[in-house]
């Protein structure tokens, strides 16, 4: 039987506010334990929540950036369960009326574009952390993270492979960073994915029983966990078994998922509207104001890159993976507007490769867009060859000669020989010295031509303009 995998994702994005969603404590990461847990976060008797305007604004921005509906009135509800990292014994979340409803995200898998529908996005508070290193057989609770604002973004089950799920997660990840509502730091837990996975016979409508895989904190784990889980479910079904609805945990060391809790012991969360918080009202004028301040979004930029700059959809997609890269690209293109493809190639190739190698972000790139623009200008005006440019690039990266392109070309003697008469003279010399290859070529051995080009280039230490060498050589040999 052919199986179809069905995947929906729930993403928890920590919002990048200064203070917590319901208290004035700092959200900064990495402080000593419990130094950023104020009386409200600790749920001392008598304390009360007051909603952070910044968190609401970021949720609205997200809704606007995915063409969702912003509910003019939304409700905070209590999700009741006991856990030591949940100080109140309930999490303040949104249940029946979330702040953001609906929305769409376009993803690109290979050459194919696909639309993923969003169900909703709601505001809630994060829990603290349980630390399991041994305190005489006890666990330690750090509540610094308790009360950090989260936007839980829930997709429809519109994805059908781990590849699509990863593409969706990456697109969403890029988007929340793009609009500045989440730092996207997955190691620190700022962007966490849960995947709902089920399988069904291809061509059928009815959803299979799903399992939820919790806390996938890298795209690679997301991919592997979905692949494993789908395989597991298919094997069970093909052996005539049935899938139990349950929550599973991905174990990266063993590359497998395992049962965390079954539906039977699933909690009865007893959701009800939080009486300490009143309905959140969002006016149209507030929405309009935030809309105005929203940056140009990735889909719009992608369209512009294709239409204005003539880039491929693939290139446009890669360049808009982050706003910083896209901005870098545009600031480079400014210096040579007709050579967008050259700019794109260099940013996706040399720049990105070098950044990766050194593990730094493009915002810390030692070569500025203006400097890269200067280098690429020297390629496009024929001053240096592409190969020589790589050598110049290396020198610039290392900070040589104040990263002055022309000075480096000069110092390294990389200037191309583009003077026709000089090249002709060299060609003549090479032809004279290699009579055998000349006659081989004339007798139909095409390979001999390349050898002759090689000789010319060697004679100029690679500095001759290859296109010119090619043309002149051809003319002489056929003429």
């Amino acid at each position: 039987m052919q199986w179809e995998i069905v995947i929906g994702l729930e993403v928890h994005a920590q919002l990048s506010t200064r203070s917590k969603i319901f208290s004035g404590a700092s959200t900064a990461y990495g402080a000593p334990p419990n130094t950023q847990a104020c009386v409200v976060d600790l749920a001392l008797p008598g304390v009360l929540p007051v909603l952070n305007k910044g968190a609401v604004e970021q949720a609205i921005k997200f809704g606007l950036s995915v063409d969702a509906r912003i509910n003019s009135s939304s409700i905070f509800a209590r999700k009741n369960y006991f856990y030591p990292d949940l100080p109140k014994g309930y999490q303040i979340s949104q249940y029946e009326l979330p702040v953001v409803q609906g929305g769409n995200i376009q993803i690109q898998v290979g050459k194919v574009e696909k639309n993923i529908r969003l169900t909703r996005a709601h505001l809630e508070e994060d829990a603290g952390k349980s630390l399991h290193e041994d305190f005489h057989g006890m666990s330690g609770i750090d509540l610094n993270r308790a009360g950090t604002p989260l936007l839980e973004i829930v997709s429809e089950p519109d994805m059908h492979s781990s590849e699509e799920a990863v593409a969706y997660a990456k697109t969403l990840h890029a988007l929340v960073r793009w609009i500045g509502i989440c730092d996207g730091n997955m190691q620190e837990g700022s962007f966490r994915c849960d995947a709902n996975v089920s399988v069904r016979p291809r061509g059928t409508e009815k959803f299979g029983t799903r399992c939820e895989i919790k806390n996938l904190n890298s795209f690679r784990f997301l991919e592997k966990a979905i692949d494993y889980e789908a395989r597991r479910q298919i094997e069970i079904l093909e052996d005539g078994g049935i899938i139990r609805q349950e929550t599973r945990l991905y174990d990266a060391n063993k590359d497998e998922t395992r049962t965390m809790r079954t539906k039977e012991d699933a909690n009865d969360y007893r959701y009800f509207p939080d009486p300490d918080l009143l309905p959140l009202e969002i006016t149209q004028s507030w929405i309009d104001q935030l809309k105005e301040a929203l940056p140009e979004l990735p889909p719009a930029r992608r369209r512009r890159y294709v239409n204005e700059f003539g880039l491929s959809a693939y290139d446009a997609n890669v360049l808009t993976n982050s706003r910083e890269v896209a901005d870098y690209f545009e600031n480079t293109v400014k210096h040579l507007p007709t050579q967008a493809k050259l700019c794109a190639n260099w940013i996706m190739g040399e720049i990105s490769g070098q950044l990766n190698k050194e593990g730094i972000e493009i915002t810390d790139c030692p070569i500025s867009p203006a400097q890269l623009g200067a280098l690429l200008t020297r390629i496009s005006d024929g001053t240096i060859s592409g190969k020589a440019a790589k050598s110049v690039f290396e020198s610039m990266w290392n900070g040589e000669l104040d990263k002055n392109v022309d000075a480096i070309i000069e110092a390294k003697g990389l200037k191309q020989i583009s003077d026709d008469s000089a090249i002709e003279k060299l060609v003549d010399e090479v032809l004279a010295a290699n009579a055998q290859q000349v006659s081989d070529y004339r007798n139909g051995k095409e390979k001999a031509f390349n050898s002759l080009i090689g000789q010319v280039m060697k004679a100029t230490q690679g500095k001759a303009n290859p296109a010119q060498v090619n043309a002149i050589l051809k003319k002489k040999l056929t003429g």
């Binding site: 847990a37 305007k53 006890m138 330690g140």
Partner: protein
């Protein structure tokens, strides 16, 4: 509606309150009586009525996104049952 001892045990479990057999039985009698009292409200037709979650119909006030709290760990942990290295200690959490 009739409650059973099992219901009492289930809700005690949800509420994380240990309850023995004897207590559960006594609780059942009292809760049944209270639910009989509560039942009176079921006779009213509320099909066209909106729930009234708050006594005042006002909307949520918003706080500016500013850090107003300082570190009070020492004070707050001076009243904690068990702490070590700035952490609240609890019996091992198993995930």
């Amino acid at each position: 509606m009739t409650l059973s001892v099992n219901d009492v045990r289930r809700i005690a479990d949800l509420a994380y309150i240990e309850i023995n057999e004897e207590e559960a039985k006594a609780m059942l009698t009292q809760l049944s009586g209270i639910f009989n009292l509560i039942e009176a409200m079921q006779s009213v037709d509320t099909s066209t009525v909106e729930p009234m979650f708050h006594a005042q119909s006002v909307v949520q006030r918003l706080r500016e996104d500013e850090i107003t709290e300082t570190d009070q760990r020492e004070l707050c942990q001076s009243i904690a049952p068990q702490v070590e290295a700035g952490l609240y200690l609890v019996p091992q959490v198993i995930e």
